[in-house]
């Protein structure tokens, strides 16, 4: 079910989405790349400029709306999904996007995040996951690795990290994807796909914070290691990765395993073929669990993408149904309903 949002013919350019405000991230920050891709995709999704709304919480990443020349609100910490829910309910014609950080969405904002997913409210949540609290200068976040040394964990953090895709799947999200700031082409495609999804669309974007957590994703972005560490999910395609496309993933019962495609023991036909539209979430759940298994690559792409009526659709449908059945309300009926009597 694609969003039913109309556009007109004016051809907009990425720079039409660039606001007058100077961008205030640190030089080298991964946020720039995300901004660039979003500005690039925005004219292409088929939404009128005035119908875009960007909502955020607080954090470096949450400054995002200031840089988009659309409607926007830099909200309060953790509440972006809830604010966006109000916007979308009020006017389902709008294309409502959330820019949020790992702290904003998963720490203080965890509740609104899981409830947005559960309700399948039509907002797109772009999580800038740098595995650190950037704006407050470097404390560990709920996606930081255990043992991480930060300002608030000088002897190493003892928190287990959240797995954001697993959490989204556990909350029944209908669109779950992952991408990386340093892979602009892939990132752009994910954003574009999220843009046309009707329910809650969640993209986890690995984002480098070069000030407080530099290199957190370098195994996934460095030229030399990238191909061996990243698995690009493509729908209906077998899971192949590696510098020479020499490795594949098979599902051995419930256990995903890496196999060598060069020693002729395994061929493409043996591999797990990705189906992003699988109505049941179990395989997407296994994809989210890859970090739990030794030697498996990190999947990027769309883990899950299913259709399900949205919250705003059902809400407005209910209004329509009631009006169809009971007639449109008028003030007189409203006031004079119930047991009334006259005093003369």
């Amino acid at each position: 079910m694609a969003e039913n949002i109309t556009t007109d013919e004016i051809a907009l350019k990425p720079k039409d989405f660039s606001s007058s405000q100077d961008v205030r991230w640190c030089p080298g920050c991964g946020d720039y790349s995300i901004l660039a891709q979003i500005q690039r995709v925005s004219p292409e999704i088929g939404v009128k400029k005035e119908n875009y709304v960007w909502i955020s919480g607080i954090g470096c990443s949450s400054r995002f709306p200031y840089y988009m020349d659309t409607y926007g609100m830099h909200g309060i910490h953790g509440r972006a999904a809830a604010i966006a829910t109000g916007v979308k309910i009020q006017n389902p014609e709008l294309s409502v996007w959330v820019a949020t950080g790992d702290g904003d969405a998963l720490s203080i904002g965890g509740n609104h995040f899981i409830h947005a997913c559960r309700r399948n409210i039509g907002i797109k949540i772009i999580l800038f996951n740098n595995r650190i609290y950037g704006l407050t200068k470097g404390q560990y976040s709920p996606t930081s690795e255990k043992g991480k040394i930060t300002k608030s964990s000088p002897y190493g953090s003892i928190d287990y990290p959240f797995n954001p895709t697993a959490l989204a799947i556990g909350s029944d999200a209908t669109f779950v994807a992952r991408s990386i700031d340093r892979d602009p082409k892939h990132l752009k495609e994910m954003i574009s796909r999220a843009g046309s999804h009707a329910g809650t669309a969640f993209i986890e974007v690995y984002q480098n914070c070069n000030i407080f957590n530099d290199g957190a994703f370098s195994p996934l972005t460095d030229k030399n290691t990238k191909a061996d560490n990243v698995l690009v999910l493509e729908n209906n395609k077998p899971m192949v990765f590696g510098k020479e496309n020499d490795k594949g993933v098979i599902l051995d019962g419930f256990t995903p395993r890496v196999v060598d495609l060069t020693d002729s023991k395994y061929s493409l036909d043996d591999l797990w073929v990705h189906n992003e539209h699988d109505i049941h979430a179990s395989r997407a759940h296994i994809l989210s669990q890859f970090p739990e298994f030794e030697g498996l690559p990190t999947p990027i792409g769309i883990f899950r993408h299913i259709d399900k009526p949205t919250y705003e659709h059902d809400l407005h449908q209910q209004l329509k149904d009631v009006i169809a059945k009971e007639g449109e309300g008028n003030l007189k009926d409203l006031l004079f309903s119930g047991n009334t009597w006259e005093v003369n």
């Binding site: 606001s19 405000q21 009128k48 400029k49 005035e50 119908n51 875009y52 709304v53 960007w54 909502i55 607080i58 709306p65 200031y66 988009m68 020349d69 659309t70 409607y71 926007g72 609100m73 830099h74 909200g75 309060i76 509440r79 809830a82 604010i83 966006a84 829910t85 109000g86 916007v87 979308k88 309910i89 009020q90 006017n91 014609e93 709008l94 509740n111 609104h112 409830h115 809400l315 209910q318 209004l319 009631v322 009006i323 009971e326 007639g327 449109e328 309300g329 008028n330 003030l331 007189k332 409203l334 006031l335 004079f336 119930g338 047991n339 009334t340 009597w341 006259e342 005093v343 003369n344």
Partner: protein
């Protein structure tokens, strides 16, 4: 047996029983019927925090008091003239509040050892000194109901549930009320189960005819219709009419109504009521918590709704950070706070006025909002309209205060003619020419431009804004300017609201000031004193922030200001600090409204002191 009918001018009745005895329903029926009969009516439901506490215990007692009269009344009555006690525990809990010589109808079938023990009665109160001075009528309510329904085909447990209708029928007979409205109600309410309809009707009629036939009562009573202003009336509870006012405001502003809410006693019934009004396009969003409720409300306001969130004290505390965002983004929104007993979970089903200072100051930074409050249940209609008017005209969050007493209480409401409700049509900004998100009109309010409008794209947020442009700005002078501007904008509302009105004796020595739900009790006390020839006056604050413009002038006219409140003196505090005028703060904090007699006594004591002094 033909009985004499005695005319009374007013009566206060209290129904009391176990939480499961249906006393709220019985009380509501009696008061609706009385209202339909043309009396003025005022009610006070009073129920425990548990859904159903264990049967027979004192803390499980649920009560419903109502006051009906042939003239204008303002309170549910200080002390009942008659108590219907379904069991010993309800007798125990309510005895001390009765008028001396009051009538007590007891369901004598429940007066057994087990229930005495549960109510902590050492002996049968019907047989010892406990009830000396009261007129006790022992009715075998359970037994008579069982007899009446013996052919109903219902199980004994179900039969027992009908006994409240027997009691209601008896009361209808005693006070010469018609039983038809309740029969109609039974037929609609239980329409899915004819057996229950028949049983309840039979019980009601049996109770009514029992009155005629028993020797227990020698007189019936009658209360003539009140001379209320001409018009069409309905009986309505505070939260219900508050909700209707919001729907009316939506129609009159032309803005779709959005409610973001999380259930909490005693505010939940506003959510219930509004979720029924889908055909008026009302969108209700039951959020995951209060923070989601208020922030979704901000989102809806941004997108162009008449945006409302409803809660009670602990929920208001949770919303406080977000209301600050409402202040900074200068979006119109209404935050309804139905006060209950605090602090913390406190006394969730009881009334109190202890959130005024929270409403005023419960946010970080200098974060002014408009605060208004309702005086009576029916008054909520007008206050809803006024809250919407101010919020949209001034682009400002409005905190709208009521309390459990107003929310659950009911009274006859004179329905306004739809076309006499003033139009408050809101125009969004649509013209891109010279558009600036934080430009100001004559009210200092900024333009409301909503997403979807071509050419007006802009960003709001909680960081300090530059005036006019709305850009983020950290400049020291701009911050000072904006802090004062936001304060000024709220203060300016004083030019747009009625002055503080004094009722009673204009030459009084003492002015009683109050706010919110104490209106009725103060009014009764004042008029009673004036009848006794005392020089007293009353001014009631509907606007708590800003205060009406003439407040200082009014207050300075009087030698003595008395301020009764259901808190530790919060309005007194605001007045003292603002005007440096001494105020005698008279406070009660028991989860119960003032009785007008308490206030009368207090005022008389003050007057006595003044004359001696």
């Amino acid at each position: 047996m033909k009985k004499g009918i005695q005319e009374l001018s007013e009566v206060t009745v209290r129904f009391a029983g176990d939480s499961g005895d249906g006393m709220q329903l019985t009380g509501t029926q009696f008061s609706n019927t009385s209202a339909l009969a043309g009396n003025d009516v005022s009610t006070l439901p009073d129920y425990p925090a548990e859904i159903r506490a264990p049967i027979g215990t004192t803390y499980g007692v649920s009560g419903f008091q109502l006051h009906f009269s042939d003239s204008d009344i303002h309170t549910p009555g200080d002390s009942p003239d008659i108590l219907i006690a379904m069991n010993p525990a309800s007798l125990k809990v309510n005895l001390k509040s009765l008028k001396p010589g009051a009538t007590i109808i007891v369901n004598v079938n429940s007066f057994d050892e087990k229930n005495f023990k549960l109510a902590h009665y050492e002996s049968n109160p019907l047989e010892d000194e406990t009830l000396r001075g009261f007129h006790v009528v022992e009715v075998p309510l359970s037994k008579l109901t069982a007899e009446a329904l013996k052919d109903s085909g219902l199980k004994p447990k179900e039969v027992a549930r009908s006994k409240n209708f027997f009691a209601l029928g008896l009361m209808y007979w005693l006070y010469s009320r018609p039983i038809e409205p309740t029969i109609n109600w039974i037929e609609t309410k239980f329409k899915k189960n004819q057996q229950i309809v028949d049983a309840n009707k039979a019980a009601l009629e049996a109770g009514y005819y029992f009155g005629d036939n028993t020797t227990l009562f020698s007189t019936r009573y009658k209360v003539k219709p009140a001379k209320l202003p001409k018009g069409t009336y309905r009986s309505i509870e505070g939260n219900e009419v508050l909700a209707l006012g919001l729907v009316a405001a939506s129609i009159k502003t032309g803005l779709p109504l959005f409610l973001g809410s999380y259930p909490i006693t005693p505010a939940s019934t506003i959510l219930h009521e509004l979720s029924r009004h889908k055909k008026y396009g009302v969108k209700t969003f039951q959020a995951e918590d209060e923070i989601a409720a208020v922030t979704a409300t901000i989102g809806a306001a941004f997108a162009g709704a008449l945006a409302v969130t409803t809660t009670s004290g602990p929920g208001l505390a949770l919303k406080s950070e977000a209301i600050g965002l409402g202040v900074m983004t200068e979006l119109p929104m209404i935050i309804v706070n139905v006060q209950r007993g605090g602090p913390s979970t406190g006394l969730p089903t009881k009334t109190e006025q202890s959130d005024l200072l929270q409403a005023m100051y419960g946010r970080s930074g200098e974060s002014p909002v408009v605060i208004i409050s309702a005086n009576t249940p029916a008054d909520c209609f007008d206050v809803s309209l006024e809250a919407a008017r101010i919020a949209t005209k001034y682009m400002v969050p409005v905190l709208y205060m009521t309390d459990g007493y107003i929310a659950n209480g009911s009274e006859p409401w004179r329905i306004p003619a739809p076309d006499q409700i003033p139009d408050m049509k809101v125009e969004f900004r649509t013209d891109p020419e010279n558009y600036q998100p934080y430009s100001r009109n004559e009210n200092l309010s900024r333009p409301w431009a909503i997403p979807g409008t071509p050419g007006l794209e802009h960003r709001l947020g909680g960081l300090e804004k530059e005036n006019i442009t709305g850009d983020v700005n950290y400049d020291p002078e701009n911050h000072e300017y904006m802090v004062r501007l936001r304060a000024e904008k709220v203060k300016n509302v004083e030019n747009d609201i009625p002055g503080l009105k004094v009722e009673g004796d204009p030459d009084a020595d003492i002015l009683v000031v109050g706010w919110g739900g104490t209106y009725g009790a103060i009014t009764d006390a004042i008029y009673s004193l004036i009848e006794k020839g005392k020089k007293v006056a009353h001014a009631h604050f509907r606007y708590l922030n800003p205060f009406p413009k003439n407040t200082e002038e009014v207050l300075k006219k009087y030698k003595y200001i008395l301020c009764p409140e259901l808190n530790l003196g919060q309005l007194s505090f605001l007045i003292k600090s603002r005007y440096l005028i001494d105020v005698d703060s008279y406070t009660k904090i028991q989860g119960q409204p003032f009785k007008s007699s308490e206030l009368e006594d207090k005022i008389e004591a003050v007057l006595g002191g003044m004359n001696n002094g």
